[in-house]
C-alpha cells in the first residue's frame, strides 16, 4: 500500500447490481481488488459475481468488515449513498457518478465534515495502487507498480500520465483521479500531503486543468510542504473564457481559472511544469536521471 488503498483494502460496491457497477466490479475483481460485497436497496440477500448483496451499507460493513466503498449510482441517489457509507463508518468512498448538482455537493461536503470519511470524486475515474487495488474504472493494464504518485482532475488525461510513466519505467505508487466537478472530495493538497508522507512515492505528477484555483492553492502548498519533485501539466491553455470545457469544473471565468495563472503559480513554487501533455513522463525521468 502506498496511499489510501492497497492489498488489505476491503471494498464494497454501492450499485453493484446496475449495468455499470457490475461491469466494473468484474474488472476490479479480475485486477485483484478485494471486493467483498455489494449494496443495492431492495436486492439484499441475492448474489452477484459471487458476492453477497446487502440492502444497507451498515449490514455489509457488519458482515464483511469493509473499509472502503466505490459508488456507481445515478446522480439523484449519490449523496444519499455517500452519506450512508459515511454513517456506516466507511473510511474511503470513491464516487464515480457524474452529474451531481453542485448545491448537493455543497451540502454534502458540509455534512461529511462531521464524519471521518474521505471522499474521492464525484465524477472521478477512481484510485489505483498498481498491482494491489483498483477502485475505479481506469484500464488496469496500463499501470505499473512504481514510484510516481499521480493526482489529476481528468480521466483520460490521467491515463496519458500513467502510460508515460509506465513507458519510461518509473511506474506509479498510487494514482488518484480527484474528479472534474467544481466541488469535490479529496483535493490536490490532500493527495500531495499523503504522497509527500508516503515512503514508496519518490516523485509526483499533478495534472490540472482550467477553472477554479485549486492548482494555485496546490502551488502554495508545494512551496511550503513538498520536498519531493513535482511535475505538473495544466490542460486548457488554449481554451477560451467563459466556456465550459466538458467538465463541469473546467471553465475560465472573469478573474479566475486560466491555465496561465496556474502555470505561473506552479513555476513560482518550483514545480517542473510542462506545456506539452506528451512530456509528463519524460520530464519526470529527466529529473531522476539528473
Amino acid at each position: 500500500m502506498s496511499i489510501l488503498v492497497g492489498r488489505k483494502t476491503r471494498v464494497i460496491c454501492q450499485g453493484l447490481t446496475g449495468r455499470q457497477g457490475r461491469y466494473h466490479a468484474e474488472r476490479m475483481l479480475r485486477y485483484g481488488t478485494q471486493l467483498v460485497a455489494g449494496v443495492t436497496p431492495g436486492k439484499g440477500g441475492s448474489e452477484v459475481l459471487g458476492l453477497p448483496i446487502y440492502d444497507l451499507v451498515q449490514d455489509a460493513v457488519d458482515e464483511t468488515d469493509a473499509d472502503a466503498s466505490i459508488i456507481f449510482v445515478p446522480p439523484a441517489s449519490a449523496v444519499d449513498a455517500i452519506m450512508e457509507a459515511a454513517k456506516a463508518g466507511i473510511g474511503l468512498v470513491v464516487c464515480i457518478t457524474e452529474g451531481i448538482p453542485v448545491q448537493d455537493m455543497l451540502r454534502l461536503k458540509a455534512a461529511l465534515s462531521f464524519y471521518n470519511t474521505r471522499l474521492i470524486g464525484p465524477n472521478s475515474p477512481g484510485i489505483i495502487t498498481p498491482g494491489e487495488c483498483k477502485m475505479g474504472i481506469m484500464p488496469g493494464q496500463i499501470h505499473q507498480p512504481g514510484i510516481i504518485g499521480i493526482v489529476s482532475r481528468s480521466g483520460t488525461l490521467t491515463y496519458e500520465a500513467v502510460q508515460q510513466t509506465s513507458k519510461v519505467g518509473l511506474g506509479q505508487s498510487t494514482v488518484v483521479g480527484i474528479g472534474g466537478d467544481p466541488v469535490h472530495g479529496l483535493g490536490f493538497i490532500d493527495c500531495l500531503e499523503m504522497f509527500e508522507a508516503d515512503r514508496k512515492t519518490k516523485g509526483i505528477i499533478l495534472v490540472g486543468e482550467i477553472g477554479g484555483s485549486e492548482e494555485e492553492e496546490a502551488a502554495a502548498y508545494i512551496q511550503r510542504h513538498v520536498r519531493k519533485p513535482v511535475v505538473a501539466y495544466v490542460a486548457g491553455i488554449s481554451a477560451p473564457r467563459n466556456r465550459r470545457m466538458g467538465h463541469a469544473g473546467a471553465i475560465v471565468s472573469r478573474a479566475q481559472g486560466s491555465a496561465r495563472s496556474k502555470y505561473a503559480a506552479l513555476e513560482e513554487a518550483g514545480v517542473m511544469v510542462v506545456f506539452n501533455p506528451a512530456l509528463m513522463g519524460a520530464k519526470m525521468l529527466e529529473y531522476f536521471r539528473g
Binding site: L106, T156, E209, G236, I237
Partner: protein, 391 residues
Amino acid sequence: MKLHEYQAKALFREYGIPTPKGVLVDALDKLEQAARSLGGDEWIVKAQVHASERSQVGGVRWAHGMDELRKAGEALLGQRLHTGYGGPGGQRVDRLLLEAPVQLEQEIYFVMQVDRSLERVVCRVSQSGGSTGAERAGGEIEIVQVEADAVLGFMPFHYRQLSLELDLSRQARRRLAELMQNAYRLFRDKDLVMLRINPLALTGAGELVALDAKLTVDDNALDRQPDLRALHDAEQVDAIERAAEEHGLHYVRLDGDIGCMVNGAGLAMATMDLLKLHGGEPANFLDVGGHVYGPEQVAKALRLILSDGQVKAVLVNIFGGIVRCDLIAQGMIEAAGGQGLRVPVVVRMQGTEAYAGLQALAASDLGFITTHKLEDAARLAVEAARAGVAA
C-alpha cells in the same frame, strides 16, 4: 443553462424580488399597445438574448415617444445581435422586453454564486453597478463578499455588513435583507449557480429594484427542475453546438481550422493545447465522453465536425480504456463511408486494442492518417490543415 432576462424576472416576482413594470413583445405590431399599457412616454427596449454584453452592441435602447419606440423595435426584433455568442451568425432577437424607467439614486452590483474554493454560496455587492461598473472594471472597484453559512445560510450580520458597505439608509437595509433572503431562497429552490442583478437600482424612497436579471441554472440539476428545463431557448446556441447537445456531446466552437475529436474532457483540452504548441488552431473542443460511449457516438461526432465548413483537417485522439479502439475505428469508418472524408483526418490511438484500431483505419483506404504518438498526431494535423489552406 442560461435564462432570458424576462424569464428570470418572472422568477424574481414569484420570489418577491421587485422588478420594473414590463411587457414582453414578440411582434412589432404589439409594441405600441405594450407601451401604452405601461403608461408614460419613455420606455426601455431590451433585446432578449443570452449574452451579457448586449448593451455594448445596441441591444438595449431608450425610446422617448412612439416614433423612437417603433424605430428601436425595428432595429432589434427579428434582427441578429453579434454579441460573440451563438456562433458566427450572432443571436437572433425573437423577443423584446419593454420596461418603464425607474427613477434611481444609485446602481448597485449584486451577485450570488457558488464559490468552489470556499465551497459556499457567496453574495457579492458593489456600490458601482451598471454597465460601466464593477462587472467590467475587473479588480479596480471594491466588491464586498459574504459567504452563506453551511448550515444557517445568510444571516442578519451578513445583511448588516453589506448594508454598511453600501452605505444604505435604514429603509434600504431592510430591503437588502429581504432581497438576500428571497434571492437565496430562489437560488436554492431552483438550483442556480449564478444569480446576478446588475444594476440593482436604489431609489430615492430606499427601495431596491432589479433592473436586469441574469440567472444560470445548474445543468446537472435540470432533471429535477423540469419547469426550468422547459425555459431553455436552444435558438440562442450555435447550430453545431445545439446539434452536439442533442447527441449528448460536449462541443464548443472555436475560431481555428483543425477539428478535434477526443475522449475525455481533460485529454480534449490537452489535444487543443498541443495543436497550439505546433502552430495550429483548433476549430472546436469535442469530448465524446471519457468512459461510456459506443461507435455510433463516435460516428455522430465525426460527422458533426466535418459539417463545419471552417474545418480544414481533423485530429482524432482516443485513449482506449473501457471501450476498445477497434470499435471506435469501426464507427469512424462508418461515418466516413457515408460521405467520404472531405478533409484529412489524423488519428492517434492508445490503450485497449489501439493497434487493431489504427490498422483497421489504415486498411480502410479512406485516407485516415494514423499514428500511436500524440506528438506526431498533432504535428501531422497541423501540417494537413496548412496543406488544406494552401490547396
